[in-house]
Amino acid sequence: MKKNLPSALLVLILLMLWQGVAMGIDAAYILPSPLGIIVRLWELRVPLFTVHLPATMGVTALGLLISVVLGLLLAIAMDWNPKLEKALYPVIVASQTIPTTAIAPLFILWFGYSIWSKVLVTILMTFFPIAITVFDGFKSTKREMEELLYTYGASKKDIFLKLKLPTALPHFFSAIKMAIPLSVIGAAIAEWLGAQKGLGYFSKRMMTQLDGAGVFAPVVLLSVVAMLTVWVITIIENKTITWRKEL
């Protein structure tokens, strides 16, 4: 509790400043106040929690799941075969230079307003940190430990399963913690660009109605959900990897 006090105080000060400035401007369609956003969030709770939040969470979860599988497969493939690493690594890095907001409308052309156009944007934004971070985890294996296993007659598969996989576990958790906020952003961007439901879509709709607090309400909800998910993952990580500092 004590260690979070400085950041909690800073957030409180910023919110108070925001509240003061918003009250000074007194035009909620330009800058709604934090209290106004909370009130609006409560007013819009039914559509937000029953329709739009589940839709965005569906996109996020599916995108994240596919990214984890794809990222892990790429990391394993690159670690297993140096030729594959040479072939894949530059392509993976290049994929991150694609401006997501520019390419997302193309996905809508390909997949229409179905969930897949939005899932694809999420995957594009999240598979990279997972693949690269887990791959780096495999590479961080201590050479002496690898040699020790070799002297016990371990095969390449044994070394992977008994040494590289556990060594990469902390990296995997870091990757997931990076990917969660990115997946939420990806889903929201995709919904902004073309959707019939979801928090991104809802925020855009509120924009057309000049409802400033209504624009912010789904954004706040997204942030809270992302923070809660990262917090849960951190708890699981701390319970699972008690040996991180020993590596």
């Binding site: 201590k142 430990m145 002297t151 016990y152 990897i241 590596l247």
Partner: protein, 251 residues
């Protein structure tokens, strides 16, 4: 019996060879120490024995068979304990057996016996972070023993320990050697440690590449006591070995 026959070896990235036309042998059940200055190639000998490096020339034989044709003839224990932090002590010591596909039941039985022998049975379910430096080295030794190999290659296993623990571990190692009767090759920088433990001491004096190791018999019988190191001939031997090492460093 381990035998090097005219072994030469050079690391690909080095200009100079490490070992050239080296021949020596170690009898079964012997405890032999190898001493030499830093970087002289002591650890390379172990890397050649356990197959991490292949000789450019010559043969390495164990019981008259080339090492390429046999498996599980040696087990390596490095300076760092290299215990896997995510495994319990029991799981760590079982690792070589797991790789050899020994049944779970048998693994448990053998691990229990060896952990009791090294005084770590009550720590079986603990993790490496819960153990002291000396205990970790004992766990690493138990893992080396459980590989089932008859020849143990111990590369400065106690060098990272404090003096008192180190002295304790040396005495403990001698007890283990008497109990298990394995062939032990022991690399060390510490002349006193080499004399206290070994029946014979090989000393590397040449600059790279070295072609021979001088073999010196230690005039002490087993079991040994710490006070034996105060005997006049042992003090003399110690001084002589230190002198040889100093000369090799200045070469």
């Amino acid at each position: 019996m381990l035998r090097f026959e005219g072994v030469s070896f050079r690391y690909p990235e080095d200009e100079l060879g490490m070992v050239e036309n080296l021949s020596f042998q170690v009898e079964n059940g012997e405890l032999v120490a190898i001493i030499g200055a830093s970087g002289c190639g002591k650890s390379t000998i172990f890397r050649l024995i356990n197959g991490l490096e292949k000789p450019d020339q010559g043969k390495i034989l164990v019981d008259e068979r080339p090492i390429e044709t046999i498996k599980n003839y040696s087990a390596f224990m490095p300076q760092k304990d290299l215990l896997f932090p995510w495994r319990s002590i029991e799981k760590n010591v079982c690792l070589p057996m797991e790789l050899a596909k020994v049944s779970m039941e048998e693994q448990g039985r053998r691990a229990e016996k060896v952990l009791a022998q090294v005084g770590l049975l009550e720590y079986a379910q603990k993790f490496p972070k819960d153990l002291s430096g000396g205990m970790k080295q004992r766990a690493a030794f138990a893992r080396t023993l459980l590989s089932g190999a008859d020849m143990l290659l111990l590369d400065e296993p106690f060098s990272a320990l404090d003096y008192l623990t180190r002295v304790e571990m040396q005495e403990w190692l001698l007890q283990q050697w008497v109990h298990y009767h394995k062939t032990i090759l022991f690399i060390t920088h510490d002349v006193e440690e080499a004399i206290f433990l070994a029946k014979r001491v090989y000393i590397i004096q040449d600059s790279r590449p070295f072609t021979e190791m001088e073999c010196i018999e230690v005039p002490l019988n087993y079991p040994r006591k710490r006070e034996d190191l105060k005997k006049a001939e042992i003090v003399e031997l110690k001084e002589s070995l230190i002198g040889k090492l100093r000369r090799s460093v200045s070469l």
